[in-house]
């Protein structure tokens, strides 16, 4: 009987642990869903960026489209990748 009760207690403990872990996983995934930007927040990545001005102008000529140029007066900066 003692062995059975010990087994029962351990089983219940294991179930509690598994339940707690599942809840922790759910909680972590919920936080991820909250912090992961949605499509609206990522609108900058819907702009048709070219990797360089040269490529933008080459494509513009072929596709008969205008160029929107961001000029940063600094030693570095690449707005297309979000690095100002």
């Amino acid at each position: 009987m003692k062995k059975f009760l010990a087994f029962l207690a351990l089983s219940m403990l294991a179930m509690t642990v598994i339940g707690a872990q599942t809840s922790e996983v759910e909680s972590a995934l919920k936080r991820y869903a909250e912090l992961r930007p949605g499509e609206k927040d990522l609108a900058m990545y819907r702009i048709d960026w070219a990797p360089s001005l040269e490529e933008a102008q080459s494509r513009a000529l072929k596709e008969n489209r205008p160029v929107f140029l961001v000029i940063i007066h600094a030693k570095y900066g690449d707005l297309s990748s979000g690095h100002c």
């Binding site: 995934l29 990522l42 960026w49 513009a60 000529l61 929107f68």
Partner: protein, 291 residues
């Protein structure tokens, strides 16, 4: 704003006025900008930012340009307005340009969302600095990190709880930094200091099974230090869910977050302000289902 840019091909360029190879459009913009004593437009009072926006036609001719940040006195806002958002200002200037362009026939449909590609086994990191005083910094930046099988080995399925030194995950954890903040730069090279050290004793533990998928949780606090000379550091907590098949030890997917504080230096009053810095991590392919 993004919809106004649909007809355009966008590009970013950076440099200085004395660069020998200035593109023609940039040369023209800066000649006009710096040639004007009063700056760009009425009410500017000589103030100007280091960002200019220019529109070129398909043949590369400069059609219109304007300072990236409005610097007008209140009397200069259109229609007697007392305020104008940066977005409205940019849209208004863009409309001036499009009025001069012949855009009939150029595409106006929405472009697909193109996030940086980390490759099949790589990681995407979405970072946001929740700066109230500069809302542009809140816009998420997406970093893509290519990872090899060796990079994933520390995260092999744990049969029992184990500790992992955060430095083993430096390749992707080091992407957690505020990309739009330029204060932490090398005074000589003007390059942003990269993260050189990551410390933290993380816990990786099994977290149950669901739908034939095994789960594990990676949690703990990490401290990131950049390569500057003053041991500048910031820290935060990570909470990450990994999934594994029943037969393989390498992770099938990873999703999680960093939630920390970035101490931003204010040179005006020589003090630090604590600004929330958050990131979401995700590794592809996302093949699992929620537990």
């Amino acid at each position: 704003m993004v919809s106004l840019l649909r007809p355009f091909i966008a590009a970013s360029w950076h440099g200085h006025r004395n660069d020998p190879d200035l593109p023609d459009a940039v040369r023209t913009v800066w000649r006009e900008k710096f040639g004007r004593q009063s700056g760009n437009g009425p009410g500017l009072r000589g103030k100007q930012s280091n960002v200019d926006l220019a529109v070129l036609d398909a043949k590369g001719n400069l059609v219109h340009w304007f300072d990236g940040f409005r610097r007008m006195g209140g009397q200069s806002f259109p229609n007697g307005q007392r305020h104008e958002s940066l977005g409205d200002y940019t849209a208004r200037e863009l409309q001036k340009a499009t009025a001069e362009l012949h855009l009939a026939g150029t595409p106006t449909e929405e472009h697909p969302l193109k996030l940086p590609d980390p490759g099949r086994s790589g990681m995407r990191v979405f970072i946001s600095l929740l700066e109230e005083r500069m809302r542009a910094y809140r816009a998420p930046v997406v970093e893509a990190v290519n990872l090899t099988r060796n990079d994933w080995k520390p995260l092999a399925y744990p049969d029992r709880e184990k500790n992992i030194e955060a430095s083993l995950l430096k390749k992707w954890l080091s992407q957690v930094y505020p990309p739009g903040v330029m204060e932490r730069t090398d005074p000589q090279t003007k390059q942003v200091y990269r993260i050189s050290r990551i410390k933290g004793n993380l816990t990786l533990e099994p977290a149950g099974t669901f739908n034939n998928m095994r789960y594990a949780l990676l949690t703990g606090r990490i401290i990131l230090t950049d390569e500057g000379p003053d041991d500048f550091s910031y820290e935060g907590d990570i909470e990450i869910v990994l999934t594994y098949s029943k037969t393989r030890s390498m992770p099938q997917s990873l999703r999680g977050i960093f939630d920390g504080i970035y101490p931003r230096y204010n040179p005006t009053n020589r003090s630090f302000r604590e600004i929330p810095l958050q990131a979401a991590f995700e590794a592809l392919p996302m093949v699992d289902k929620n537990p």
